[in-house]
Structures are given as structure tokens and as C-alpha cells.
Amino acid sequence: MRPPARPPIRRVIMFLDENTQIFITESNELLEDMEAALLELERSPNDVDLINRVFRAAHTIKGSAGLFGFDQIVEFTHVAENLLDDVRNCLVPVNVDLISLFMRVKDHIVSLIRGIVDGSEVDKEENQSLLDLLNAFKAGSGLSVAVTEVANEPAEADQLVNENTVKNDNWYISIRMGEDTFREGFNPDVMFKQLSELGEIIKSQLVTDVLPSLNEVDAESCYLGWEVVLRTEKNKSDISDVFEFFDDAQIYILSPESCVSDYREMLESLPDDDAVLGQVLVEIGALTDSELQIALNKQKESGGLTGDILVEQGSVQAEVVNNTVERQKKIRNEKQREMSFVRVDAEKLDTLVTLVGELVIGGAKVSQLAAKYDDDDLTESMEEMMVTLEEMRESALGLRMVPIANTFNRFNRVVRDISKDLNKKVRLKITGGDTELDKTVIERIGDPLTHLIRNSLDHGIELPVERVNAGKLEEGEIHLKAYHETGTIVIEVNDDGKGLDADKLFSIAKDRGLVKEGQVMDKKEIYNLIFEPGFSTAKSVSNISGRGVGMDVVRRNIESLRGSVLVDSELGKGLTMTIRLPLTLAIIDGFHVRVSDESFVIPLDMMEECVTLTEKQKQEAKLHNYINLRDEVLPLIRMDDYLGIHTNNTKPSRMNMVVVKFAEKKLGLLVDELHGEAQAVIKPLGRVFHGVRGFAGFTILGSGQLALIMDIPDLVKSAAQRERDEQKEQHRQITTNQSNNLPLH
């Protein structure tokens, strides 16, 4: 009996070998670059380098896909590449429609590649629709739109024409005969005859600058030279062949300016080889071997750069040399970058970090044992080992850190597409793209950020006419910013749109029962109501946002990363969403404290100070939920009360206070004992503890004892809520008392 056929998805995944994975990774990187180039091209439609970047991406993907036999990708990218080739040759102009088409092309190639990974079916309709469009553009259907656009920009159009029109078709040949030409039986007239056969000699100028006087001349030696202008359809190699036998002659053949663009094209099509300049110029036909040899000899004699010598000796245009040098530099940089990076399976990194975590726990145990045995040598060795272990931990965690730039750059496309849909003009500004975050955080922050940006686009930024009426620039701006701040990463999404209307928000919140009658809230608290489930102020639900199901999910997602999100706004001026995230989700520097009989760890980067309370302060702390700390009212949480873990043991309780800070808010945590710093490997709480608040996870201490890691953002939030509840209660009591004291009629 034949075994049942396996579903295609399994089969495809099974054959994903290492090379295919490299193809997928590299293609996706190229496609990201293609998208970035397209977005830039939309702003600078005459930038040849950008067109080449898009072309190169399509060309490389096609080539690589061919190697792996991904015919569908090859066939599709081939058509796209054909159109791009016409764009490069200025046969098809760059305009908004073309950019939009290639955005779709890019998306479709992404889906074709995804098909390799998960075996998903190709969207045949989209495939055909895009092929039709590509062919239509190539045939000139898209021309009318393009011509109108170009006509609106005469200066730029002229520049384009100038840059790409053939300036002249003449070759300039500089000939200096070798001394032994006559002795060797060569006649320069043969050379001229052959040149005439290649085309038309427009001009020939005899050069006699080295001709000696009659006294000095060696009549058998040749001193002649010529500057020849030749018009021919032949290439440099054909012309060079004329001089093949004039071994000791110096021949420089300068291509027509019309060839410069040909050379540029040839450069682009060369494989990314970091060959030296001369080799590349010979390969693209801009230089002959003999010209190169002469230049290298000169270089050997008097030094200098090959490119400068080649230009000086008139073998090749400076522009061609510059283009080549730039290209080679880029390739070398890329190669260097490639060489300094190693692609590692993310799982292997995770395993390494876990193992380092275990080592940290093991180290702490051994360290405690060493302290117990009170052996100086052992203690000293342990201390040294712990220092190395800490460095190792930092390095291992560093491996997981990834710049946020890639995530940020993706939003260029989001902003472009959505603003077009909404008929708005919006510019995305990105700063701090090199800020590094834990890989897991990066992976999970994309969705919340997308939501915030969509909201800014949909509800924040006004229509151009509204902006102008409000005295703003027609084009709105969304600023995506990342930076480090006291052990956390801060990501800000700021827009210069209409901002939030606190009164309106408050009234909606009241209508929906999100705030109680008589509840007092400051503006920031009101703004943050938008994170409440079901809250939306949009008059209509669009496909972009406005269903009110997003912001609470945004907050939940961010909080699941041990982060927080806050909103601030100014009506008419704009809005800022501030996301705070932990640097890492794996191992932290913590501070070990005891509450009752239990151990806890407080993340060190959120600690401000430790204070041993005076008697007076102890009394104050027993009576109130706040304390006067250096004339500052500090909210307090008595951890034993909060956790409900009182003990009857006789351990002395000194009542220590740990001051923590999160999002500009300070809080005092009353604990029994301070044990000092401890590295904590964060282990997630099990599903059973899913609803438990106030803890970010647990860790194993050196003693083998378990310790819960305090979730400071959550504790700060609890304290704020408690304060609000107390105010409410006070308000209620006052109202009750007032009504009880009302005179009876």
C-alpha cells in the first residue's frame, strides 16, 4: 500500500537546507533595502543610485532564486527587472504610480519567498495582475501620468536629460610610439589604416614635443606621437586591437562620454567582487590591459593612486573611476561587515543565555559556600570567578541585543501607504535607530508600535487643509524616537497633530462608566483613559483604527514585556506616547530583600536608595501610607501587608525602606531586611500564577531558595490606584457626613 502523500507544507520545510535559509534571509534583507530605496526614490525620482539599488535587489534575488530552482520567483522578478532596466535607461520615468507598483512587487516577492518557507499557495490573481501592470508600464501605458509629473518639474527634467543624453560619440586616442618602432619594422601608417577601417578619423594631430634636433636625432628611433579623434561604433577592445603589436607604444584610449553610462551599467551587473580598481575597469571595457600596465608602472615609479594616474594619463574619465571606486568601496565595506558578523540561529543564542543564567545561579551557590567555609583563598578565587562570570553574563546578553532601526524603518512604508489612503501628508522622522533592545522585545514591540502610528495617522495628524487653517505646515510629522534612560529603553511616538481633548475624553469616559461621578482626575490621568478597554473617540470606524479595541491591547502587550506606556498631549499641538521597556528579559542585576520569611528581588535599575527608618518615621509609616523623606511626600507600600505574609518569628525587623522609581514616580517599599545585590536569572511564573500582579517572575538565589522578582511598574501603579481610592473614599465620607448633617425639615 502506498503511504499517504505528505501535505506540501511539510515537504517544503523538510528541504529547507542551510543554503536555502541563507537565500531567504538575504532576499528578505534585499527586499527591505528595495523598499527603503523606493521610499527615497519617491522623494528623489531622479536619483540614479536609488534606481540602481532597486534594480540590484531584483537582479540579485532573481539570480539567487535561479540557483535554487525557484522558478516562479525567477519568472516574476525577471519581468520586474525588465521594467527596472527601462527605468534605468530613462525609458520609463519614475512617478508615484511606478513606486506604488514596485511596492506591490516587493510585497509579492515577499509572499513568494514566504511560500518557500511555509508552503503557502501563491496568490495567482495578484501575480498575474502585477505581471500585467509591469508589462503595461514597460509598453508605456504609465507614460501619460509620468510625463505630466516630469513636466511640472522642468529643472529636474532638464537635469535628467543632460545627465543621460549622449554628449559625443568620439573616442580620443593618445598615441606615443615606442623608440624601436622603426627598427622592429612597424609602420605607424598601418595603424592609421586600421583605425580608418574601424570608423572615421575626425582629427589627427601630430605630437612632436619629444622630437630632437637634427644633431641629436637617432634617425632610426621613433619619436612620433598623435592625438587622434575617432568616431566608431566599435568598443575599446576593438580599438585597442589596432595597437596590439606596438608593444612599447603608449596608447591611451578615452571612451566617448556616451560610454560612461554604459560603463556604469556594466559595473552594476558585475558580481560583487572586491577586485582592485584597474581590474574592474578592464573588465567593464573602460581600460585596456596596456593602459593599466602603464599606469601601474608609473605608480611603481612615483607612487600615487591608480585612479588618479589613469585619469591623468587620459585612459578613462574621472566619472568612471569615481563610480568604480565608490562601488568597490561599498563592496569592500559590505564584505568587511559580512566578515565581522556571524549568522547564528537565535535558538542557539537563547540556549547560551539560559546556560549562562544557570551558571550565574551555580556561581552564587558556590560563592555562598565559600563564604561559609571562611577560606580566604577560596573566597578570593570565587570573587575573581564571579567578576568573570558577570562579564560573561553581560556578553551573553549583549548577543541578544539588536538595534531597533530595522523595526523603525518598516514604518516608513506604513506611514506612506496610510497617509496616501487618508489623503494626508505625513513625514516620518526617525531618531535613535541604533538603540539596542533585547531580540525578544524587538520582536514583540512591532505590533504595538504599528498601532500607535496608525492612530497618529488616523486620529492625530489633520488633513492638509485643516493643518494650514490651524497655522501648521501642510505636512504633518510623526517622530519615532528611541533612547536609553536609567536602565530602561524609552520609545516615543510623537505627532504634531490635533492632540487629545481632555474634557471630551473625560465626558466620554463618564458616559461609558469608566470614571465615577465626582471623580477627580488630572489631565495626564484623563489622557491615559484611552488605554481602557472599549475606549474610542473616533466618530467612525475606519479600516485603520477607531474600533477601540486596540489601545488596551497595546498596553497589555507592552506590560507583558515588563514595560509601560504613558500618553501626554497638548490640544492642537500633538501627542506623545512614551513606552518604557526593560533592557533585557533574561538576567537582571537585582537587590535581595527579605519580607517576613520570604526573599524577594528588586530590579536594581529601578532602585533609587535604601533608607533605614528612624523611630519617628517608623511611627509615621505605621499610621499613613506615605512618609516624609527629606521634605518629600513619598507613597509607601508595606510589603508584608501588601503580600499578606506576616510572621510570628523573632527575627528582628529593622523596617528598612527601599525607594524605587519608575516613569518619574517614586515609591517606598517597606521591607524587613536588606541582603544586597544579586544577579537574578528571570524565570517566568507558571500559568497558575497568570493573574498574580506585582511580580515579574522568579529567580533562584545562591542558597537555592526561590525569590520572587518585584514588578516595580505594577507596584507603582498599585500605589497610585490606592491613592485614588483613598481620595474617593474620603470624598464619599465627606459627602455622607454632609448629608447626615443636613437639617431635617
Binding site: 622603426f182 627598427r183 609602420n187 605607424p188 601608417d189 592609421f192 589627427s204 594631430q205 601630430l206 612632436t208 622630437l211 630632437p212 634636433s213 637634427l214 644633431n215 636625432v217 637617432d218 634617425a219 632610426e220 621613433c222 619619436y223 612620433l224 598623435w226
Partner: protein
């Protein structure tokens, strides 16, 4: 071989040089010596190339050197009897007027046998 014949008494004001049939790289060293001698006379010089049957660019080069030398020494130089072949070569390669065009003032005793002036 190279050379010409001594000029007649009447023609002593002008130096004539008659080229022989072969003027190639094998003869140019000798021709150079002859031209040096002619230059030392400081007389207008007429070169008669009518008998030249074989020549190459080395010969043309030497004529060019001679032309420069004559100009530098203020010696009038004329070329007569040059064949179309020589003229074409000179024109196409040197981009100069045909050698006969050098002749501005001198008479053209083209069929005369001249002496080589030493």
C-alpha cells in the same frame, strides 16, 4: 644610395639634394649626416624626391626633423617631385600640407641631376 651631386656654379646660391630610390630606416642614419651637412651651408635647400620608390615613416620623420631644423636656422626648405604616395602619407599622418607645398620660392629643377653638397 643616398646623396646628390654637387650643384653647378650657377646654382651655388641654392643647395639641392636628390633623394635616391630607397629612403627607409636602413638609410636614414646616412641621410641624417647628409642633411646636417646641407644645413651647415646655410643656403636655401631644395629636396628632390622624384626618384624615391621605397620609403617609410622613419624617412618622413627625418624630413620633419629637417623641416624644424631649417625653420630654426632660417633656412628656406622646399621639396619637389614628391609622389602622391608620399604626399598622402604626409598629409594623413602628419596632417601637414603635401611636401610639395613646402616649395614656396624655389625653382623646380625636377629633372636635373644635382650634386650632393658636402
Amino acid at each position: 644610395m643616398s646623396g646628390g651631386k654637387r650643384m653647378s656654379e650657377l646654382e651655388q646660391q641654392i643647395a639641392y639634394w636628390y633623394a635616391t630610390e630607397e629612403c627607409t630606416v636602413y638609410q636614414v642614419s646616412d641621410l641624417k649626416t647628409e642633411f646636417l651637412d646641407l644645413m651647415s651651408l646655410h643656403k636655401p635647400l631644395v629636396l628632390d624626391l622624384s626618384k624615391v620608390k621605397q620609403f617609410d615613416v622613419s624617412f618622413i620623420q627625418l624630413l620633419l626633423v629637417l623641416q624644424v631644423q631649417a625653420k630654426n636656422n632660417n633656412i628656406q626648405l622646399s621639396v619637389i617631385g614628391s609622389s602622391d604616395e608620399i604626399n598622402n602619407l604626409v598629409e594623413s599622418i602628419y596632417c601637414m600640407p603635401a611636401l610639395n607645398g613646402f616649395n614656396e620660392t624655389a625653382s623646380t629643377p625636377s629633372h636635373q641631376e644635382s650634386d650632393y653638397v658636402s
